[in-house]
Symmetry: C2
Subunit: 329 residues, 2 copies
DNA sequence: CTGAAAGCGCTTACAG
DNA sequence: CTGAAAGCGCTTACAG
């Protein structure tokens, strides 16, 4: 492996000068610079990043913490992040918490020890230990998806998205709307989306039968199981529409409904959130909310980059969304 | 940031000893070890990885080069890789070539300069410059999806998968089978899959009308466009079945066929490859091949790990696949 | 415009 | 069982 010393020797200058030429810092005569660059070209020399990082305390690496590696949402966000960061010469160090709260914390510390310049955290829950760890490590962190106190956060407008979806169903004549949510440990998906639904139902004067409410775990299977339970428990007072807080759960629900011979949307309308690829191509196509995840990723990267430049940024950014009306309602 | 020196001072030993205790190398008295570990616990000390890496030439990071960040295939493979690697304490440094051959090469060099211990390359093409670069950097590389000369490769059995699919269609009574492939720059998807199809057609004595053949670019849209062209150009001699070499292109094709009022599979049968999530939930559900991508990722990680331990491994591993028969045929 | 020297935080022969 | 010292490959005041 050729080092800066080799280059210096070959160019007949000190390594100080090579470093300056490479980093465009300080004066280097045009003549010498050309000579150095030529040799760098020829040898294909690349500075050792560990050494550089050890010395400068910066690494050119951004850590990304994901709740799940293999969901469309995560993928899109990472894609957006990468698009912006790659252009600025940053690499992404990826970690997957598998929805484990402890891992979320462990990874923040780990990324710190790896000298990442910043962290983008796709948060799924909010707790004291997490916040505290972030303060401790003292590197720029940007949260996506949850509002983390003291951490610049990019959030989806979960409340209004859910409210809009509910209003839309009501406008279509539905009064009995079922709901499949997730754990309230997840403030955004678990709490805000349900709140939007409940508030709108109340506002329109529609009573909610608690038998219509289910709690899934984000998986397709849980959507399937929850709608089964809901239908079993509400025989005489069935909902005419169903609001699943994620596309995947909506897909599971539709699978069950189709199996049971229900016509969608005639017998029961279904909506989700996420604008997954499948929502578009399934039959019937699914009415859902597009959260522009890739844009979110890009914006997150930009915001983090601004933090790295020590710019002050707002503590909270709200993202836009779009309701996509399709055949399932 | 606390360093090994701080710990040494607090424990009243040299940093040599602290290092030994931390890495379980050489002798350290039980007494001293306990004292050190206690302090490490309390302070939450984590060794600086850049320093460690500079010194040991190992980083605990594996580079992964992807053709696209946001495809189901990539995601599943990465998921498998991560599952194995995380358990061994490795992190993943992710790069996305966006199907750009030059970037593939650039990233290999870049990852080298970042001291990654090894690289897993999801290859989409094979060329001299790429092979040469891999030899140059001289770190363990493992290829998935293409057979790279001189590089241990984990490959899908594209030829037989395509052959099986074709045979299955023939067995169902189809003699006129259309085909949507991709560029031959991609030896696996572009060449082998087409070869499997053509060989089986010939073997069964079924003439191929070249108007039935289209070339897409992996995208859903290209499947849509290609089937449109195929149908336009084969008016009097339409295929009764269509083999798209990826699920996404099959999905695009089906979209067009449904729009045009064709019944699937009655008017025309469609098959793909990939076992995407959508293939299962779309209507009609898609007959396809499952390549067990996550398993591939896991196996790739294991093989790379073995290389890191300087074990000799075979130059080529062939993965298994499974045909999933569904409603589209 | 250029270079000598110190130092980033580790590990590892070597000596005791 | 323990420590002093060298060195990994860089950058950056400092001096000229």
């Amino acid at each position: 492996m050729t080092t800066i010393n080799d280059i210096a020797q070959m160019a007949n200058v000190s390594r100080t000068t090579v470093s300056r030429a490479l980093n465009n810092s300080g004066y280097v005569s045009e003549d010498v610079r050309r000579r150095i660059m030529q040799i760098v070209e020829e040898t294909g020399y690349m500075p050792n990043q560990s050494a550089k990082s050890l010395r400068t305390k910066r690494s050119g690496v951004i850590g990304v913490i994901l709740p799940r590696l293999s969901t469309e949402t995560s993928t899109r966000v990472v894609n957006g992040i990468n698009e912006v960061l790659a252009k600025e010469g940053f690499q992404i160090l990826l970690t997957d918490t598998e929805l484990d709260k402890q891992k979320e914390i462990d990874y923040i510390r780990l990324l710190k020890s790896r000298h990442v310049d910043g962290i983008i955290l796709l948060a799924t829950n909010v707790n004291e230990a997490l916040i505290q760890t972030i303060q401790q490590v003292d590197i720029p962190v940007l949260a996506i998806g949850q509002e983390l106190p003291g951490v610049p956060s990019l959030v989806y407008d979960d409340y209004h998205a859910a409210a809009d979806l509910t209003n839309m169903l009501v406008r279509k004549g539905h009064e009995k709307i079922g709901f499949i949510g997730v754990t309230r440990d997840d403030p955004s998906v678990g709490v805000l989306r349900e709140q939007g639904y409940r508030d709108m139902m109340q506002q329109h004067g529609h009573q909610i039968n608690e038998a219509w409410i289910g709690e899934g775990d984000f998986s397709i299977e849980s959507g399937y199981e929850q709608v089964k339970t809901i239908l079993r428990n509400s025989k005489s007072d069935r909902p005419t529409a169903l609001f699943a807080v994620t596309d995947r759960m909506a897909i599971g629900a539709i699978e069950y409904l189709k199996e049971q011979g229900y016509a969608i949307p005639e017998d029961i309308a279904v909506v989700g959130i996420g604008a997954s690829m499948m929502s578009k191509y399934m039959t019937p196509s699914l009415t859902t909310i597009d959260y522009h995840n890739k844009e979110a990723g890009k914006q997150a990267a930009h915001l983090l980059l601004r933090q790295l430049k020590n710019e002050k940024i707002d503590p909270k950014f709200e993202l836009s969304y779009r309701l996509i009306l399709r055949d399932s309602v």
